[in-house]
Symmetry: C2
Subunit: 301 residues, 2 copies
Amino acid sequence: MAEALIGAVEAGGTKFVLALARKDGTILRETRIPTRDPRETFAEMADFFRTASASHGPIGAFGVASFGPIDIDPASPTYGTFTATPKPGWQGARFHDALGEFGVPVRIETDVNGAAMGEWLAGAGRGCRTLAYTTVGTGIGTGVVTAGTQLAGFSHYEAGHIPVRRDPARDPFGGCCPFHGDCLEGLAAGPAIVARWGDSLDKLEARETAVELVASYIAQHAATLVLMHMPDRLIYGGGVMHAPGLIAAVRRQAEVLLGGYVANERLDPGLERYIVLPGLGDDAGITGAIALGRQALDASA
Amino acid sequence: MAEALIGAVEAGGTKFVLALARKDGTILRETRIPTRDPRETFAEMADFFRTASASHGPIGAFGVASFGPIDIDPASPTYGTFTATPKPGWQGARFHDALGEFGVPVRIETDVNGAAMGEWLAGAGRGCRTLAYTTVGTGIGTGVVTAGTQLAGFSHYEAGHIPVRRDPARDPFGGCCPFHGDCLEGLAAGPAIVARWGDSLDKLEARETAVELVASYIAQHAATLVLMHMPDRLIYGGGVMHAPGLIAAVRRQAEVLLGGYVANERLDPGLERYIVLPGLGDDAGITGAIALGRQALDASA
């Protein structure tokens, strides 16, 4: 019998990355489709896997790393269903419905948990026991992996929405989070940057001041993450982190905020080895999705 | 052969609670001794267990819930040793040295992890999968228990030191944390309250304003804890929480900060069932220490 293959989905708010892969991670076929409404996108997704499977062999399990909020509790009757997402049409959409025709296990995680798993397995998080992966893009989210397991409470974490210090004299922008105004995401995610300065961080002329300001918020997240999870390493990815100088400013300000209190050899002076960019770049998500599919395959074996 | 007994230690900065207990939790003998220097206190501790054991039977394991910072990594060569504690004389002191004469396993956790375990087993955290216990006293610390296991990264959490928002117009006090100034502990722990108002929160005449201010910081901790751990319940204990009206003010302000973003049936309107006082009161620590001893006993069986 042919080895069962893995269907992997990195579901983002802008695009879906779809891959058919071997259990060892080799990608046999891959495509990108725009995220439209769930009816269209789910139909294209199923079509891709149907066609790819016809060429390469049967799919044994799916791994999905998705935008959210989404129910990621395997014991829940609505596992795999989008909940209160502001993305039009997606609330109530469920991956299991779209992939049900294949009759195989489907493992769902958030996009950041998937990327955390990918980086832990094959990227900048190799060798860590506990790894925190944060994306700073359209939104901000954090996934924490410990010894190959994604941490969660009654739901996945929402660390992008923590309250942060804002000095109104330095930053009069009141934030753009529809729930919290000036929470971290409302101040430091992509839309907040465009709302404040009219362009993305890497394109601004007077970039230095803007980078320091955005870094001041991300550094508060980093310090809080250290104090509340004590990870072996912090990875910051996502579009906003492409801005030149941003990761260096985050390191510098996080070190000041921590004030030497957490004395451990993992936190090197300057934090250059502790706070890092992703090792897999844009491939963390799909790598994590394949890993999730592998877990589903192993659990069903 | 007689059933092996458990030696339990709740080690606080002011006093040690010592108990000899059966595996079912029944306490056979208990005492309290003041925390002096480690030589004296450790000698009294060993003496108590020696005498109690002579009357009741052999000790099979010790469980210790201790103040810190302390090395709680069982794989570390300095497991059970106080690290950078500001408490004079205690840095470098090690529980295993003091209890080594008994020749049995010693399980060490932080005081808050011990209390979290106690509350999870027998207090206000019964029925939870993930429980966060926070003490607000001389210091502020948080322990998180999931399915009977204390969560930790490379070290125990230090959630008392997270940065929080302070409005200098409302609170000109710059905080008293020697590392961070106006972090949570520097603004809301017992010493900060005494430094600001000259007395503890429950004794102030104009208490309402002070309670609302302290609650504003604890509520930021609560909201951050929800977003970074998604616990099934938050317990707040410690001396500061005895102040009338404080827990109600924390609930009210945490609910405002969360802004309805985390929509889950666990977070009841008003958060009266979600943010609660300890169920075991002052017994959470020793109950947790007995539970730790039981784990050590079971692991060695």
